[in-house]
Symmetry: C2
Subunit: 325 residues, 2 copies
């Protein structure tokens, strides 16, 4: 059940959240000939009239006409519903997903963090949920205007109840075909939960410390104290993974550190959100992994401290300025 | 040996470091009739010519003439040598203390943090060292110009080799007399190490978090996440104390939290140093307690993380601006 998207020759996509991720991937899919429907909020007028503008080192292009919607009720039901909202807006999903998802369709959760597929499964059922991990540098620089900077690959994985290993299914291959046709690299992961924890190995230390210490990755890696702290935080992530029966090897941690040293100076997505006064995805990236470990009686004291520091900074930012998208 | 400062009717004081603490206490002692000799660096010319200016809610006063010195070689030997330098300058002490301390005199270490008396003992011998913990809000606002804001009490304790309990000695009472005459409250502590750890219960969370999170005490206590974090950090301090056989009760921690909630919004001394681009006393307040615990095989993970964050911020500040006093 739910292993294939059926025999339709052309799968129809919905993009919920037409920002840095959703705008880029959706535009690429449409450019490659796929039918894509975009849900927008504040950018609706602009996109409806002017379309989407994509800057990218690979190719700049404009889609003068897109299917743009302000209300989910006006959208057709889709085979693949891509959730690319900030996870801080996930309280909207119960009102959105049932209206736009085909009976035999699938929701593809492209958000960062842990446990988000389980939340979506409560709305549409576990058999209609997949996760995607985006390895991409991309920003929205204006209404309907996306600047893709680097990378872009997605790791796809099936969700199964309680994050049991989902294996590789027919519909994963079908979605991979659509993205590959749009020149997006796709990796198929048999174990979504393992992929999620592996991504946290990087996201937890660098998203967190970049905000708390007002720093780019190069500065954090050049200082021996924060280098050591990043490594300790990574080991706590591995401990959290172990609690959920997923193994992260020491040499994976060392590779992450080595790769980060070699990277160009990088401002993390959470730091960009913080600098722009936008809500931070603290619960998805920090709170959910902590609670998963605590439920099994395991403390992750340094991740817990980073979580508390981020909550303080995030609460203060929200107290100082009205919420932005 | 070393229990009394001898029969001289008037004890002679040296103040090493004529800043927020040393300037205030030294001026008060002189005003009350005690002979005080001040070692200065950048403020020497000003103080030599204009004296010391003290603003205080208790009494504003000026000492037009003080014994001011630029070089320790010109100072007379003193009964009590007060170390009120920033602990980041303690590498200067081996060149200073032997020149100014009387044979039967005592060094009074007024600095924040742990283990500083042991460093001084290596220079002058354990029997010639005492510690003093200052509970005071005071700033240097200009050359030879000190602004005392609130509080001022000192807890005095004898140092003994390896921080054995030193008891209450005759010379503690003698020094207490001099300060009491100058309207400074003095508490006599039989156990200096316990007093040091108890002070760290407040200093570690609030000095550290105020710098890392750019916050005053009221903001940290008003947010439930940083309130909880401060409490956890206090419990780690208590664990460090326990490693050194000193007990800090749970209700002492609760009192510290309650008192801090009631305090007026307060910018900690480390935050002021950070904002002014001055070196931070990270090793004395964080590094030494951590190493004491680690030497006994006990990890204090959240204090360790705060230490690493502060080292990063401190290193970056020093890289950006030349060292200030």
């Amino acid at each position: 059940m739910g292993a294939s998207l059926g025999a339709v020759p052309n799968r129809r996509y919905a993009i919920l959240g037409t920002g840095a991720l959703g705008g880029f991937y959706g535009a690429r899919l449409q450019q490659a000939g796929t039918e894509v429907h975009f849900l927008l909020r504040s950018d609706y007028e602009q996109v409806q009239q002017q379309g989407l503008v994509i800057e990218s080192p690979e190719e700049n292009f404009t889609l003068p006409q897109v299917y743009a919607y302000r209300r989910v009720e006006e959208m057709p039901r889709c085979d693949v519903v891509v959730v690319a909202l900030k996870s801080t807006h996930n309280h909207l999903l119960p009102a959105l997903l049932p209206r736009v998802l085909k009976e035999d369709g699938v929701v593809l959760v492209l958000q960062n963090g842990l446990g988000l597929e389980a939340e979506v499964a409560q709305i549409v059922g576990a058999e209609r949920v997949m996760g995607g991990l985006c390895f991409i540098c991309s920003n929205k620089v204006g209404p309907g205007h996306i600047r893709h900077l680097d990378y872009g690959a997605i790791t796809l994985g099936e969700y199964a109840a309680n994050y049991q290993v989902g294996g590789v299914t027919e519909r994963m291959s079908q979605i991979a075909q659509d993205f590959t046709q749009a020149s997006i690299s796709i990796h198929l992961a048999a174990d979504l939960l393992l992929a999620r924890w592996r991504k946290l190995v990087w996201n937890i230390p660098f998203n967190g410390l970049s905000v708390v210490l007002n720093a780019t990755t190069d500065a954090l890696m050049a200082d021996r104290y924060t280098y050591a702290l990043a490594e300790q935080l990574m080991r706590e992530v591995a401990l959290g993974a172990k609690v959920q029966s997923r193994a992260i090897a020491d040499n994976f941690i060392q590779e992450m550190l080595d790769d980060t040293v070699k990277m160009k100076p990088y401002r993390t997505s959470m730091k960009i959100d913080y600098d722009e006064g936008r809500p931070l995805e603290v619960e998805a990236i920090f709170g959910n992994p902590l609670r998963a470990a605590q439920a099994a009686g395991v403390q992750l004291p340094q991740i817990a401290m980073l979580y508390q520091q981020l909550k303080f900074l995030s609460d203060r930012t929200r107290a100082q300025s009205p919420e932005k998208e």
